[in-house]
């Protein structure tokens, strides 16, 4: 009788094959368990990172609010209250109608400027492109501003969208003016069926993205872009300048 015909040999073969299958199945089960554990671990790490990021953005929002309040207070104190005090003293000491009218006009202009800074006038009726021009106009004395508007589709922008975009541009231009030492800014705004893009470029000295990426200004911009459900990409090359691209996808309800 040949070995393979013996029942004990066949039993042994079945045991070996069975053990092999158990080994493979055990490995598959372990693998599945490990992969699940890994997925859970990754998701938890992601959630934690997201939570930390949200906390940071909230912190930025609060800090920005405080800075803005301080700025308004300083504006009111230094510009308006100073002028009103002068007017009061002049009236007490030697009233001259001409001087008073001049000072009152000056105070009104200052109050208007502060008010416009807080919220642009006729926001509801002003198209976004015009609003952008208005924001950029005061900077034209110190910077060469090249604007390009490419309006292919009309949008029904909400006041909120307009004001947030205005703040983003103001933040960027303030940064350029303060730190970039740029002489030129180019602004390209495009409205199409797909969405809206805004590109701002300067020819300044650029900055180290890794070092300043967590700054208050950039976090503030990020908060606003997130609020508008948009995306942005910023690139800076030292010695060559900085560019910021914002993209806001269209939703059917804001297309005219």
């Amino acid at each position: 009788m040949e070995e393979w015909q013996k029942p004990e040999t066949i039993t042994l073969w079945i045991v070996i094959i069975g053990s092999f299958l158990i080994l493979l199945l055990g490995f598959i089960m372990l693998l599945v368990r490990t992969i699940f554990k890994k997925i859970v671990r990754t998701k938890m790490a992601e959630s934690k990172a997201q939570l930390e990021h949200q906390e940071k953005l909230l912190d930025t929002t609060i800090k920005t609010q405080e800075i803005e309040r301080k700025r308004i207070a300083a504006d009111l104190h230094d510009a308006l209250i100073g002028k009103l005090t002068v007017l009061k003293l002049k009236n007490q000491m030697n009233y001259q109608e001409k001087d008073s009218v001049y000072l009152i006009d000056d105070c009104i202009a200052t109050a208007r400027r502060i008010s416009h800074d807080l919220s642009p006038p006729l926001l509801e009726y002003t198209p976004l492109s015009e609003l952008l021009q208005e924001i950029l106009q005061p900077w034209e004395n110190s910077l060469q501003i090249v604007c390009r508007y490419d309006i292919r589709t009309n949008y029904n922008h909400t006041d909120d969208f307009k004001i947030q975009l205005t703040r983003i541009i103001q933040e960027l231009i303030t940064n350029v003016s303060k730190h970039a030492k740029a002489t030129q800014i180019s602004v390209h705004f495009r409205q199409s069926q797909k969405g809206q893009t805004l590109l701002l470029k300067d020819n300044g000295q650029g900055f180290d993205m890794d070092k300043y990426a967590k700054g208050l200004g950039l976090n503030n911009i990020e908060t606003r872009v997130k609020y508008l459900q948009g995306t942005y990409h910023m690139k800076s090359i030292i010695g060559k300048g900085t560019s910021a691209l914002f993209l806001f996808k269209s939703s059917n309800n804001n297309l005219l």
Binding site: E2, E3, W4, T9, I16, F20, L23, L31, T34, I35
Partner: protein
């Protein structure tokens, strides 16, 4: 020409492929890493076994004595390969040592002259342990989130498939030797083709490593 003739002709492809592999390995030897050098040694040993099996077969009438020795060689080569990279190796070492002891006992006590009673388990034990080591290695890498390069992943996968095939195909060796049916010859043909493909992949791996030598960063 029947199936046996085809198998007979095909057996001559094996030493040719092995010769090619040894030549490729020898040509690039200086730029090969430790893994490729070990695989080259395996190809060389396989070539010697191939020639020896033909010579002993002609002289003795059968070459079955080489069967457990081949298992021992495979276990020695691949355990050297994997035990270097497996972190928790104590248990695996014990199993490998037990396997080697069993194989040595089988080599000493098995009667290779009696074909009807010849049923060695050396190659089965070797294949089982190699498969186990590959699985442990895979598991270790997945668990520790170490990235394996595509080349090394394919090599491990090839070794896993080859030894899993070995285990299943060669388990009923006594049946394959004694039962001269088409089924047993078909199984032997499949085994031969799997062997040739395995050797070819090892040669490709050695050639690729020799052509683009890279430092071994993450192990096998």
């Amino acid at each position: 020409m029947n199936l046996i003739n085809y198998i007979y002709i095909l057996t001559y492809v094996s030493p040719l492929i092995l010769t090619l592999g040894i030549m490729v390995g020898a040509y690039y030897y200086s730029s090969l890493n430790s893994i490729s050098r070990l695989l080259l040694f395996y190809l060389l040993a396989s070539f010697i076994f191939d020639i020896l099996s033909r010579v002993i077969g002609m002289v003795n009438g059968n070459n079955l004595i080489l069967w457990p020795l081949l298992g021992l060689l495979e276990l020695a080569v691949f355990s050297k390969l994997y035990l270097k990279f497996i972190k928790k190796r104590k248990g695996i070492w014990t199993l490998v040592l037990m396997g080697i002891v069993y194989m040595l006992l089988e080599i000493v006590y098995i009667d290779s002259g009696n074909e009807t009673a010849f049923q060695p388990y050396s190659k089965i034990v070797a294949s089982f342990l190699v498969v186990l080591m590959v699985l442990v290695y895979f598991f270790q890498n997945i668990d520790s989130e170490v990235k394996i390069s595509r080349n090394k992943l394919y090599l491990n996968f090839t070794i896993l498939v080859f030894f899993a095939f070995n285990l299943v195909l060669l388990l009923p060796l006594n049946f394959l030797i004694n039962e001269g049916s088409d089924l047993s010859f078909s199984v032997l043909l499949v085994y031969l083709i799997v062997n040739l493909l395995f050797y070819s992949y090892l040669i490709y791996f050695i050639w690729k490593n020799g052509k683009n030598p890279k430092p071994l960063l993450y192990g096998l």
